[in-house]
Symmetry: C2
């Protein structure tokens, strides 16, 4: 399992991803799922993946090697994409190429072709954008109405995003809320686990302001988890008890 | 979609269920999913259902009419079950009977045989218990380690249960936490909606202390939703911003 989240606010973009992979519950490993592509001052991109690791790794490898464009004969890589939208389309193309190679074999092993990506970033001269790319190769773009996209185990961490985030949320507050969302997910699904990779970029800076791995026991995140638990307990304690019926001692 | 939750604490049992059903997003209705069976001072049971409405209704009807026991020739109803465990087993039996009638037809319509139940309550002379019954007819019983069981859209509302509940939680606090859990679910899944049915029974009272429907606009629940939203915002605001990287203005 996996949880990745991208948050696109006025000031910039936050992307976070866990690193746990598992082939069954008895085979748990750590793999990086958040990849950063950067040419300082020219472009910065984050690519987060969820789903079958063999598929997502193959897609990332194809995007690094480049896929030949049958019309132009050029090899198209992700880092060279002219726009973020074309980058998202290249990811979709790579997914379908991997699909053509492995989908039948996976099906014969009773496995579904399960993969999805978040692509966030900015290329000089165009806007900071965030995309989600599906297994079918299609994609959606994040807009101001709902300033986040999630892949993987998205449900546990969604309530806090729905309540606490909007497009005007401060970038560091956005990072903090993303970490709370990750904490809620890790707490309820053992398939999502530490360390956590974080990428943050300020709008128009064209570089990563933060490209950081939060390791187990890291003091700030540990403190955040403790504070959030305590605050939730305090929050529900502060709400009056239901007035329904007649309580008996 | 559906969300039902049962919370079994030292003082008693809370069961809540939403009432929204939908056949596609364009066909939304209200149906009671929480049924109460009571013989004052002798027994009280709550039965909550999730999944395909035609299946769950058929199961409830069978349990009301009774299923003939081929060994004894007796018609076995839910309300007459000698113990809660046997009640859970009768539900399982009814599920498999409905399965034998409709599973093939459902499959031919590309529908899965999807149903699950929560059965909670107490029968004079035995303990207050809570069971979850699966589509296969098997069941699990709630224990003190994790004092709740959920069916339907369980993920959004699980984090608050995991953090705020334990076996010693006060009964009315348990109801309050269940309502927060329901609120989180409704907020993130439109397939879960008002009104909400609530059943509460105190241990050994052998009657419902509360059997109540929360209608849209009901003042306490409205206030709870507002307070919870405000408290979550305040809670994340009170956590310091991440110290990673160097913030720029």
């Amino acid at each position: 399992m996996t949880y990745c989240c991208g948050l696109l606010v006025h000031d910039g973009l936050v992307m976070i991803a866990d690193t746990r992979t598992n082939a069954g519950l008895d085979n748990v490993s750590t793999f990086r799922k958040l990849h950063v592509f950067e040419r300082l001052g020219e472009r910065v991109m984050g690519l987060a993946s969820a789903g079958n690791l063999s598929i997502s790794q193959s897609v990332v490898s194809l995007l690094a090697e480049g896929i030949e464009n049958s019309e132009t004969g050029e090899r198209e890589t992700l880092i060279d994409a002219p726009t973020m939208f074309q980058g998202a389309q290249r990811i979709g193309k790579a997914i379908r190429l991997v699909h053509s190679l492995y989908a039948t074999g996976l099906e014969q092993s009773n496995l579904t072709f399960d993969v999805s990506f978040l692509l966030g970033g900015q290329i000089s001269g165009s806007k900071l954008e965030l995309y989600m790319i599906y297994a079918a190769g299609n994609c959606i773009r994040c807009t101001v109405d709902t300033p986040y996209l999630q892949i993987g185990e998205h449900k546990y961490g969604k309530p806090i995003l729905d309540r606490a985030c909007n497009f005007s949320t401060d970038l560091y507050d956005g990072l903090k809320i993303s970490l709370i969302s990750m904490d809620s997910t890790m707490r309820s699904n053992l398939g999502v686990g530490m360390p956590i990779d974080v990428l943050m970029m300020r709008r128009d800076a064209l570089k990563a302001e933060l490209n950081y791995r939060i390791e187990p026991g890291e003091p700030y995140f540990h403190d955040l988890r403790e504070r959030w638990s305590a605050a939730l307990r305090a929050a529900h304690m502060a709400i009056p008890r239901p007035p329904y019926g007649v309580p008996k001692s």
